[in-house]
């Protein structure tokens, strides 16, 4: 069984982002970048399935300029077998990403595609579902548990009311939630080994996909700041403030 894991280069989740002075976007100059946390969970799940003997090959793909090779190498160090960079300098939306990935799915014919449910920069939560639609695959989103049984997969999903389990025919698309697993740390020997694993570069232009987006970002503002509040000294004072000042209880 072959698993394809698309990963995104995103700002490190610990970095406090700042909006640019001209409101054109977020200032990423010199910001620490990393694999999007949900994508890292996707890599971990695929590698675990390989270790359990369920999967035979784990292929990671990232779409972007050369810098995303860093994240592909990280995924290879975590245990993926080979990497693909779909090379483009353009900032693509989820739909364009999903279209490129659907072409790659045609080429690679994976039995399972595991993606992060959302990236912590654009917070869109779209790519996996779009890829599933474009390839006609069923989907198991926001997964907290994945069980593969022959040519089917059972996915337990985190939903607003609790948990839901669905069964999907393979090939299928799964998107990861936070509690699916805890990604391992790459060991130094594995980081060294990853440098020698194959990494193909494919120009996005060769995929025959229209990469233009119909959505324009007009401006990016900082959020409204909350006024700093006060410290109260006792429970009695807190209750008094809530009753008589804020009038919320």
């Amino acid at each position: 069984m072959k698993i394809l894991v698309p990963v995104k280069r995103a700002i490190d989740y610990n970095v406090k982002v700042r909006v640019k002075a001209d409101y054109s976007g977020v200032d990423l100059a010199n910001a620490k970048m990393a694999i999007n946390p949900f994508c890292e969970i996707a890599v971990e799940e695929a590698v675990k399935l390989k270790e359990q003997g369920v999967a035979t090959e784990v292929v990671v793909v990232s779409i972007g300029d050369k810098s995303c090779q860093e994240q592909i190498r990280t995924a290879l160090a975590l245990g993926a077998d080979r990497g693909i960079q779909i090379d483009t300098d353009e900032k693509l939306d989820s739909l364009q990403i999903a279209k490129l990935l659907s072409k790659l799915v045609e080429k690679e014919s994976p039995d399972l595609v595991i993606l992060g449910k959302q990236s912590i920069d654009s917070d869109n939560n779209q790519t996996g579902q779009m890829l599933a639609a474009l390839t006609g695959m069923p989907q198991g989103t926001f997964a907290s548990k994945v069980d593969i049984d022959d040519n089917k997969v059972k996915v337990t999903r985190e939903i607003d009311g609790g948990l839901q389990t669905v069964q999907l025919d393979l090939p299928a698309v799964i998107t990861t939630d936070l509690r699916l697993n805890e990604p391992r740390y790459a060991s130094l020997p594995n980081i060294m080994k990853a440098k020698r694993k194959p990494l193909d570069v494919m120009p996005a232009a060769d995929f025959g996909v229209d990469l233009s987006s119909k959505v324009k970002v007009l401006k990016v503002n900082p959020p409204a700041q909350r006024e700093g509040g006060v410290k109260v000294d006792s429970v009695a004072e807190l209750v008094d403030k809530l009753k008589n000042e804020a009038k919320v209880i």
Binding site: F142, T165, D169, P223, R226, E227, V235, A246, V248
Partner: protein
Amino acid sequence: MTVLVYAEHDNNALKGDTAKLISAATQMGGDIHVLVAGSDCAGIAEAAAKIDGVAKVVVADNEAYGHQLAENIAELVVELGKDYDHIVASASTTGKNFMPRVAALLDVAQISDIIGVESPDTFVRPIYAGNAIATVQSEDTIKVITVRAASFDAVGQDNSAPVEASDAVKTSEKSSFVDEQLTESERPELSAADIVISGGRGMQNGENFSLLEGIADKLAAAIGASRAAVDAGFVPNDMQVGQTGKIVAPQLYIAVGISGAIQHLAGMKDSKVIVAINKDEEAPIFQVADYGLVGDLFDILPELEKSI
């Protein structure tokens, strides 16, 4: 112009979020039609017809839609929605699940999780866990949009729109429902409650959440949690507030033993009044709190329960 709004419900009752979606749809302009897809959902269609501003309710009542499977719902929405200018659903786990499929099948972008409508084609949405707010314009012929319900006020319920049945049945052979474990609770729903009290890692274990329950009962509050509390198994996943959990904006949010990581703040910083109870006076939660109380939660909570 017409807007198709996908009704949020659980087959038993229409969710309050739907009236907030209508409020967002009203700002997009044009007639508003509501689609109720479910199994045995006639009562829900009736409830949707009462919402102000709704011109028509379309109900697709079939087993195929009972569990809101994305494969089936997306095909239905594409068939019924292809002539609309806007297709709108809640940014709930239901809407997030099927709407991107709808967008891809229609070959248009999706605008996720909007918190404002500037014009029929221009929308406001948070990015980077709410640390930046983007204004985006869509040139797509159909705008597929998910709405952060907490950012819109519900419209009234004094209408009686006509209800029309759709017999479209879409069933995917590739996906089926197995089971679900839903959390039963007498308390108000997290995303709809006026008061929310949340516990974090500082609660130490699941049993200690009973300290919050007494207070929640007195205040008719919902109980939430940080990711750390959910990951540690203190409470179930549906209680998580934050970037990847529920987004809440109650009148009063009380954070107990929660440090205030940006991913948690993303889910609650639009609350009207925030109270933080934490033993570490440097905890970042105090920077967003209107009222901060520094101290041990195990002393404070019993006292708080007694004094309200």
